[in-house]
Symmetry: C2
Subunit: 161 residues, 2 copies
């Protein structure tokens, strides 16, 4: 399968625009202080994981787009939906310090990422498999966000939060 480079470029730019949100809104003093589970990943893992996931996602989307399948328009529509949720999460969690609201965003993101994996798989099997790590990471992020929300529910918001 020949790769369509302009198309891959647009999809990769999209993931980086979504990822810019994580650069603007990243772990801060509030995040360092709040009660987190033992299995919280080290901060350096987040950008590394996203770097790999974004390349996989962009390549998978390119494969879907050039697959010629009649289902590809649904798959690309769902791609746009998960982009919105992906961009939204960091500002709500790290910007507003609202783990509860961020958990709702992650619910929408998890559903759209799972739907994307399924629709990509139906369009191009390998593209679907490339989304599997993203499903795993989003599930892990959901569990982490849920745990943080539960542990800090009663805690007063720090000043300026």
């Amino acid at each position: 399968m020949m790769i369509d480079w302009p198309l891959f470029g647009i999809f990769l730019a999209t993931t980086y625009a979504a990822g810019a949100t994580g650069a603007f809104f990243s772990p801060d003093g509030w995040y360092d202080r709040i009660d987190k589970p033992k299995w919280t990943p080290p901060n350096w893992l987040f950008p590394v994981a996203w770097f790999v996931l974004y390349i996989c996602m962009a390549y998978a989307a390119t494969r879907v787009a050039i697959s010629g399948s009649p289902l590809l328009v649904y798959a690309l529509a769902i791609w746009g939906l998960q982009v919105a949720f992906n961009t939204l999460w960091s500002p709500v969690f790290f910007g507003l310090h609202r783990p509860g609201a961020a958990l709702l965003v992650l619910c929408g993101m998890w559903i759209s990422v799972l739907a994307m994996a399924v629709s990509f798989y139906q369009t191009d099997m390998f593209a679907g498999l490339l989304i599997a790590p993203y499903v795993v990471w989003t599930s892990y992020a959901w569990a982490l966000n849920f745990s943080i929300w539960r542990r800090n529910r009663g805690a007063a918001q720090p000043a300026g939060a």
Copy 2:
């Protein structure tokens, strides 16, 4: 042209997920206080404009998706790109109070919205015309953001900003 309702639903959900960012990050005391040009729209106009623009965008994207054009995958890829920039702007402007950084986001958004209008027009003429108000609104938003950035460049960031 028959409308594909599930597809329209996904596109509309995408715009609302992107728009949620404007609900989480909306005009605050900082925005009320900073120096703004005379032609700044009243705050109530923003959600009204977006409500209309989102419906136009979602319907236009649906028309593109079902057009059968070989160019539609580029058009839908660009759709995803502008979704990311659209979601990113409000947190950077209203959340971080950084008009300069927000202006850079708007540059990316303006280019992607214009590219979307052109690619939609090439795929389905009416879909392209439906994006025209979005181009106008984004241009206006850019001019407003630019003016606010210039007027408040020297001003100290208020506490908590």
